[in-house]
């Protein structure tokens, strides 16, 4: 197991370094520097700015400095547009918010999706099954950017039950709509995957044996069917995680929750490359880490995998 984790890390770390180098080179290739605004700066000022940000060094030295700063000091440097703020501050402001509603959405999607899928598989071809399949097909075409306006329309504009935007850590009514908007379509996919894999497992030999022994049905399902049925779901968790982080950008914009997605889009519109790169690298690191966890989890649950 330990060797397996090490081997995965041996792939993950170069990937991350590659991502950092790639986005840095991309930034260098982009037409127009960060200081080419509408008004041209005096040459002396420009020269000073470029010296300050180290833009005159050779490219490899710049990359090296950036890498060392990011990896060793965990420092993404200053923002190009707001000189008094560092990228770290911007990320530190937004990240707890994203983590809160993102984590809740992830849990909600997995728990409800699995529950819906299992229930549908147990009562296969009954009205419960049809209802669950109907919900999951319907929810498939409701991505976060469609759910968000619809929820605001119903719960804020028509019924006035929930605040239509903003964020407060102490008041969970601000959390409800972001979580629903972000989790619905993934819940649907997880439910579909769970249902079909559960149906397959329920038809397999070891379940028949367990039933033949006279084991009560709920024990059959919990002890024998659930674990193997979870394998396809677990391998789907990586993509869900990535899409949720991406989706959080929409949530941040639409609900003004102020997570890192907000920092990302603002920086994209302002051409604040330092912030864009910082967020991209952070998200990339999280993705790679999460995929590692998923792989380990998969190897731990699936007895067929020899690592």
């Amino acid at each position: 197991m330990f060797a397996f984790i090490l081997r995965r890390l041996a792939v993950a770390i170069p990937t991350l370094l590659l991502l950092i180098v790639f986005s840095f080179v991309l930034m260098q290739m982009a037409p127009g520097g960060p200081f080419t605004g509408e008004r041209a700066l005096p040459p002396a000022v420009l020269a000073n700015l470029e010296a300050q940000y180290g833009l005159n060094d050779p490219l490899w030295l710049q990359i090296w400095n950036y890498l060392v700063n990011v990896v060793v000091h965990f420092d993404f440097g200053p923002s190009f547009v707001y000189p008094d703020r560092t990228v770290n501050q911007l990320i530190a402001n937004g990240f707890p918010v994203t983590l809160t509603y993102g984590g809740l959405s992830f849990i909600a999607a997995v728990v409800m999706g699995v529950a819906l899928g299992v229930v549908a598989a147990i009562w296969h071809n009954s009205w419960i099954d049809y209802l669950a399949v109907g919900i999951s097909i319907g929810a498939q075409v409701l991505p976060n950017f469609v759910m968000a306006p619809l929820l605001v329309l119903v719960f804020t504009l028509w019924y006035g039950l929930l605040p239509g935007g903003g964020w407060s850590f102490s008041n969970p009514s601000f959390w409800i709509m972001p979580v629903i908007a972000l989790s619905t379509s993934y819940m649907a996919s997880i439910a579909r995957i769970t249902r079909s894999s559960m149906l397959e497992v329920l038809g397999s030999n070891h379940i028949r044996t367990a039933r033949a022994k006279g084991m009560p049905e709920h024990r059959v399902i919990i002890r024998h069917a659930l674990k193997p049925a979870m394998l396809p779901v677990i391998s789907y968790l990586g993509p869900v995680f990535v899409s949720m982080i991406t989706g959080s950008v929409v949530i941040d914009i639409y609900f003004s929750t102020g997570g890192i997605g907000k920092a990302f889009v603002d920086s994209a519109l302002n051409r604040d490359y330092a912030v864009m790169m910082g967020v991209t690298i952070l998200v990339g690191a999280l993705t790679i880490l999460f995929n590692l966890i998923v792989d380990v989890l998969y190897a731990w649950i699936d007895p067929k995998i020899r690592y």
């Binding site: 792939v11 993950a12 097909i137 075409v141 469609v146 968000a148 329309l153 914009i253 994209a268």
Partner: protein
């Protein structure tokens, strides 16, 4: 007992004929597909939406850039959908005809979806088939590269690309094309691995056919089923990707528009009582996604009957 000769003759004819004609797996699949009600409904929706995108513009009374000054400033009262003033779907907040804009947005969204899927099909198939057929170290390196690319949060990189090199259609296509082929190449590689040790490939190799020709002539045609199913399911994903970016305001630029941009606009103005601005783009978006999902699922069921 007298046997009716003519009846026996027709019976034997039928047997002979049936045996001669046979039924190819493709014919079987087509039959199953056409019997699938959801898939047929999906196909019909897609045909109608495509017709709308192609010919809808001829019906429009206004262009998608014109401002209707008579409704400006009182869009909520005057800009409603009506047949009289030619704004079939009403106007948007600036007084532009929403019908013309929806037609135009539908074109862009469908085009992005189809082009993205086409890139995935071409690049992914060739890449995956090559990796699978050549095997060995080449395969290792090629698939490791795909693994690495897949673990990058592509939406962020895509937005990074769009911002740095300017927002244009070609950049959008390139960006979406860059990531869309990854899954396809994995699926194709898996299929190729199971194909490459079959007798007909061996025969081709024994007669001295070059590797490239084997891949193009013998492997790729046998992958068509899987590729077709996956491509149908890929189109809506590409549409979703593009809509997502446009929703953030980072996609196609005005006066061009797309479903994501229209939904975003409609969502921004819905508390002024102009719900139709959200409803029409959303309607087309949702039914098209449904259509693609239904057709994709139908194709999969038709081509792989045991997977029901």
């Amino acid at each position: 007992m007298v046997i009716d000769q003519s009846k026996m003759q027709s019976l034997s004819d039928r047997f002979v004929e049936a045996e001669v004609k046979g039924r190819s797996p493709w014919a079987d699949a087509r039959k199953r597909f056409f019997r699938n009600k959801a898939a047929m409904l999906g196909l019909m929706i897609l045909v109608l939406v495509s017709l709308f995108a192609i010919f809808g513009g001829y019906v429009a009374q206004w262009s998608n850039e014109e401002l209707d000054f008579s409704v400006m400033g009182q869009v909520a009262q005057m800009g409603q959908p009506s047949l009289e003033n030619g704004h079939f779907f009403g106007t948007d907040n600036l007084g532009r005809d929403l019908y013309a804009r929806v037609v135009q947005g539908t074109r862009i969204s469908l085009m992005v979806g189809v082009v993205g899927a086409a890139i995935a099909v071409i690049v992914g198939t060739l890449y995956g088939a090559t990796a699978g057929y050549v095997g060995g170290r080449t395969d290792q390196i090629m698939m490791r590269t795909v693994d690495i690319l897949m673990s990058i949060p592509y939406m962020f990189v895509l937005i990074l690309l769009l911002v740095m090199f300017g927002r244009s259609m070609s950049m959008l296509f390139l960006g979406i094309g860059l990531i869309s082929w990854l899954d396809m190449s994995r699926i194709v590689r898996g299929q190729t691995l199971s194909l490459k040790n079959r007798e007909f490939i061996e025969a081709a190799r024994a007669t001295g056919v070059s590797s490239f020709r084997i891949i193009i002539r013998h492997i790729v045609p046998n992958l068509l089923g899987v590729v077709a199913v996956y491509a149908t399911l890929l189109v809506p994903l590409m549409i979703l990707t593009e809509s997502f970016i446009s929703f953030l305001g980072l996609g196609v630029q005005e006066p061009l528009t797309s479903w994501g941009a229209l939904i975003s606009e409609g969502a921004g103005t819905m508390n002024y009582g102009t719900l139709w601005q959200l409803a029409f783009p959303l309607f087309f978006f949702v039914i098209t996604l449904f259509g693609f999902f239904f057709v994709g699922d139908g194709l999969r069921d038709a081509l792989d009957p045991k997977e029901r």
